[in-house]
Amino acid sequence: MIEVKNLYKSYGRADNIIALKGVSFTVNDGEIFGVIGPDGAGKTSLFRILASLILPDSGSAIMNGHDVVKDYKTIRQIIGYMPGRFSLYQDLSVEENLKFFATLFGTTIEENYHLIKDIYRQIEPFKNRRAGALSGGMKQKLALSCALIHKPEILILDEPTTGVDPVSRKEFWDMLARLKEQGLIILVSTAYMDEAGRCDRIALIKEGEFIATDTPQGIIDNYSGVLWAVQGSRMSVILHELRAHHLIKSSFAFGDKIHITVDEGLQAEELKQYLINKNFEDVNVFPIEPTVEDCFMALTN
């Protein structure tokens, strides 16, 4: 169990860069908790405080009963931490890295092989290759193996999927789901909104503040606006047209559709006809369920 209360953190000569503005949340045992927000929102500062690597200006964080400031030595025993940037030794081989980190935590690869088997097996054929020569997805797997090898109680993963391709990203989340079953608490941050669904609960973070904390579905259920999708060819021109419409509050491209939030008064058929009249014959307008990204944009607008 993690209990975070009112964390504040600022940097800079005059403490003028505020990274965290009073963040509070709890994470239950066996939960994957996602902190989701753009770069610079304060995710890394938060995770570094939890990993006992930096001190908060005020507030407290208790992880499985240990204070991240006072009991930092215990904290460092019970966490597995993976920083945002690939932080293994590039000039050491896959196996040498893993062995080194195992020894660092007073264990051996053999002793905890069962914990990492699932992940490590995929990179084991390359165990003599230097870590620097691995592809992005493989590096993430190795880093995760190294963070897991000492059987941590809490896994802290700072943007593990940044810069990783969609396939490797999906595989990575599948691995986290299986790890969760072993009872670990997993804290993970990401800038990819589409990964929210893989978490049990998420916090949306923007400019050092949690703007919502809930299950992904809870966040979606709380969406208050009316959301429609507009589909058709000549998307960028439609977008300009929609922006000009006075009953449409926002319109943003979402893949092959445009998501719009509209005034209660407007009917979908009515808008469709309006667009057809503007020579967008193949256009289609229909209500949709918001995604977490829609929620984030609604909450930050």
């Binding site: 570094r48 990993a51 006992s52 690597l53 930096i54 001190l55 930092y72 030595k73 460092r76 025993q77 966490i79 931490y81 993976m82 920083p83 940037r85 690939f86 932080s87 293994l88 030794y89 590039q90 000039d91 050491l92 040498e96 062995k99 080194f100 980190f101 020894t103 660092l104 935590f105 007073g106 002793e111 230097r130 190294c146």
Partner: protein, 383 residues
């Protein structure tokens, strides 16, 4: 089921394993990086050969003449010594100063030795007698070296004839290579090269290897682990200590076999001096690593605060006695100064422990001071 799972981890055993794993890792880093390896092994060889051959500070075939208005046994003794020295070739005695100046102007002379009148008499009665060494400065380097050689010979004569009388010679040039009877310049710089190479290996390499972990982000992972900072730092120094000793031995072997510099004193004492100096420079490397965050800065910082003082202020190239007062005082805090002095005493002069305890004590004191500074500066967090 493994037994170990039921046993509590022995704390001491665990720390030792961490330590060994870390030392092992450091060696791997060094071995994997061919360029570093080349530098580490190449530096002492290149330096020795560079200083030994390319920068030949030796001057041979110095044409010397004497002006001795009132010859006596002391002046003749001194002249004889100079004449016998293989670096000098005797051009004879001049009858007047004019003749001497004429020869010098024509380039027939490198050095003129001019005794004052009634040299021995003055020496006996007033305890003072002056001999002037006039060096031909058309080649300033050659001239000053010639004068230095000659003054060293005179000093040697003085030493050997102490019983004669206390003779404070008035010599208008500097007196350098007192303990280098063959006047071989390699004797001068072998201790200097040792000081320089060990400084480079220990200070630069150690600080860079720690700062690299900060720069590449691996320090973040290490900090988030149960590894004690002290264990890490100590483990970091081990490979460089080993390499330093290898380099030290390479220099000793090269200077003995290639440059013909003997080890006159105790070899064990020499290694003790090296051990203390290596500890000092390693500690300085650790101090540097607590002050900077980028590898480039570590190199620049080490170079400015460690290497340049070794070259300029340690007595390696420029004799400390010749320095202006400010620089001379500054040289006191240069670790290499004490190391070079101790090595010269042991290696060249063959002196024993009781002649170098002061140097050793100063170096140990410096090490402890830097260690305290490092500990005070060490952070157990990222900021």
């Amino acid at each position: 089921m493994r037994f170990s799972e039921n046993l509590p981890v022995k704390q001491k055993d665990f720390k030792m394993k961490q330590f060994i794993a870390f030392v092992n890792k450091e060696f791997l880093h060094i071995i994997r990086d061919n360029r570093t390896l080349l530098i580490i092994i190449g530096i002492p060889i290149v330096e020795i050969l560079l200083f030994g051959f390319a920068i030949n500070m030796e001057v041979q075939n110095i044409k010397v003449a004497f002006y001795d208005p009132t010859p006596d046994s002391v002046t003749q003794g001194i002249s004889e010594r100079i004449k016998q020295n293989p670096y000098f070739s005797n051009m004879g005695n001049a009858q007047s100063m004019d003749e001497m100046e004429e020869a010098m102007r024509k380039g027939k002379l490198d050095l003129a030795v001019v005794y004052q009148q009634n040299f021995q008499e003055n020496l006996v009665h007033s305890g003072q007698a002056a001999v002037q060494l006039l060096a031909n400065s058309s080649d300033p380097n050659r001239g000053s070296i010639a004068a230095t050689y000659a003054s060293a010979i005179i000093a040697g004569y003085q030493r050997d004839n102490m019983d004669l009388v206390q003779i404070p010679f008035q010599i208008q040039t500097e007196n350098r290579m007192i303990y280098n009877p063959l006047m071989k310049s390699s004797y001068m710089f072998v201790p200097g090269i040792m000081g320089l190479v060990l400084m480079i290996i220990c200070t630069i390499m150690t600080s860079v290897s720690i700062v690299r972990e900060k720069e590449r982000g691996t320090m973040e992972v290490l900090l988030a682990s149960p590894l004690k900072h002290g264990t890490m730092v100590f483990a970091k120094t081990i490979p460089y200590m080993v390499i330093s000793f290898i380099d030290f031995i390479i220099i000793l072997l090269l200077s003995y076999f290639v440059l013909g510099v003997p080890v006159n004193g105790s070899l064990i004492l020499l290694f003790l001096v090296a051990l203390i100096y290596i500890s000092l420079t390693l500690t300085y490397g650790l101090t540097v690593s607590t002050l900077v965050d980028k590898q480039v800065n570590a190199v620049i910082f080490s170079a400015i605060t460690a290497m340049i003082p070794v070259l300029m202020l340690s007595g390696m190239i420029f004799p400390i006695d010749n320095m202006p007062g400010v620089l001379r005082s500054l040289s006191v805090i240069v670790p290499a100064r004490w190391f070079i002095e101790a090595v010269r005493k042991v290696m060249i002069q063959g002196q024993g422990f009781f002649m170098i305890w002061k140097e050793l004590l100063i170096m140990i004191g410096m090490t402890l001071f830097l260690l305290l500074l490092t500990v005070a500066n060490t952070k157990k967090r990222l900021e």
